[in-house]
Subunit: 224 residues, 2 copies
């Protein structure tokens, strides 16, 4: 969404192309960092293919994944002068580099753009905040159900009853939802036993009972 608006409004801007890339594109291998926490915010990145994770690492070694970015998402936007967390590819990924300087320059030239971006930035972060508020109070089951729902919503092209890709490993899911690997695994097994989902292989899942999954994501004890 942000991506399309940027494309619409900035498509004609002559980007200063990152020398280390062709066409302002970068190819990423799994585990390749896109940027580190504390680095100066020089670029935004539009994900063209693959999946990227944004996360913080705390002093005690624990890791909190802040978000997963899928194709059409933009990462790096809304960080301020320096990036607020680490960012790296999960799978092979292609990203488009959007130099921050050009974007800021065109804001100065087109004030109405600044206002629009302000709106987008606050909107996006507010959504993320809603998610974290929600997760804060939820049980493991509610968190997993919410997560699976949001995964399904990200890929509306995957038909009902078809296999949804689940490109991140259990540890990533755990670090995103604030659960351990064990609990993630156990909860998925439970959902399978309840015939709510199927887990045919490691990298995907199938929603068997959309309605029940939705109920579980809202409040566990409405479903028995």
């Amino acid at each position: 969404m942000l991506a399309t608006i940027l494309a619409d409004t900035l498509g004609d801007v002559p980007w200063t192309v990152d020398p280390a890339s062709r066409n302002g594109l970068r190819l990423l291998r799994p585990q390749t960092p896109l940027f580190h926490e504390g680095d100066r915010t020089e670029n935004f990145y539009e994900i063209l293919s693959g999946v990227v994770r944004a996360f913080k690492v705390f002093a005690d070694g624990r890791r909190q994944i802040v978000s997963f970015a899928f194709p059409n998402d933009i990462v790096g936007f809304g960080h301020g002068d320096t990036y607020r967390f680490e960012c790296e590819a999960i799978s092979d990924a292609i990203v488009r580099v959007i130099p921050k300087a050009s974007l800021m320059r065109s804001i100065r030239e087109r004030p109405e753009l600044g206002e629009k971006l302000l709106q987008i930035a606050t909107g996006e972060v507010a959504n993320m905040q809603d998610l974290s508020i929600l997760l804060f109070r939820k049980t493991a089951m509610e968190r997993i159900a919410t997560f699976l729902m949001s995964m399904a919503r990200r890929r509306p092209d995957v038909g009902a009853g078809a296999r949804q890709p689940l490109p991140m490993c259990r540890a990533d899911i755990g670090d995103f939802l604030g659960l351990t690997i064990s609990t993630v695994s156990r909860t998925l097994t439970k959902l399978r036993d309840m015939n709510v989902i199927d887990v045919p292989d490691r990298g995907g899942f199938v929603v068997l009972d959309f309605h029940k999954l939705l109920l579980l994501s809202e409040s566990e004890d409405t479903v028995h």
Copy 2:
């Protein structure tokens, strides 16, 4: 901080004054709503005195307090077209009404202002996000210690060893930190027994051992 920048840069702008207020000011009684979730974002409010709470109420009746706003804070900023949560006074409070329309108008007139506000908005929300990420993984003790530290940091005018006001009730603290009233109370008692703080009365506390409180806020098991 946002307030001062707004004052500095916009002090000379002729505000359209809310007819229901004098001088663009509003006086609030305890429990009086400032705005509701879903209302159109027509104003921002600068807190001049008193304390205000912003919160969401979920379908199951649980309440999540998103933030407490103290004098010099601005609420309503960064919500998009409609407010994202409820907002009401905890104590008697005076707020200055800042019509959104005027602010947006002056953004259009002064592009550099838009860029600055974008920065501020992203910065503020990112801070809030940091807080929620942090709290997400913390124990009750770490949460309470973090909360008390941030309360103390909000009032640098209160000297070391002096009574810090704690204007919100235990239920508010619990709904902010994701704990029950009982756990809040128990944890405060524990901190008192450890001689880290004193709780002379309901509406305040005294930091007796700043260093230990800081350690407790970071990771519980570094202090025994």
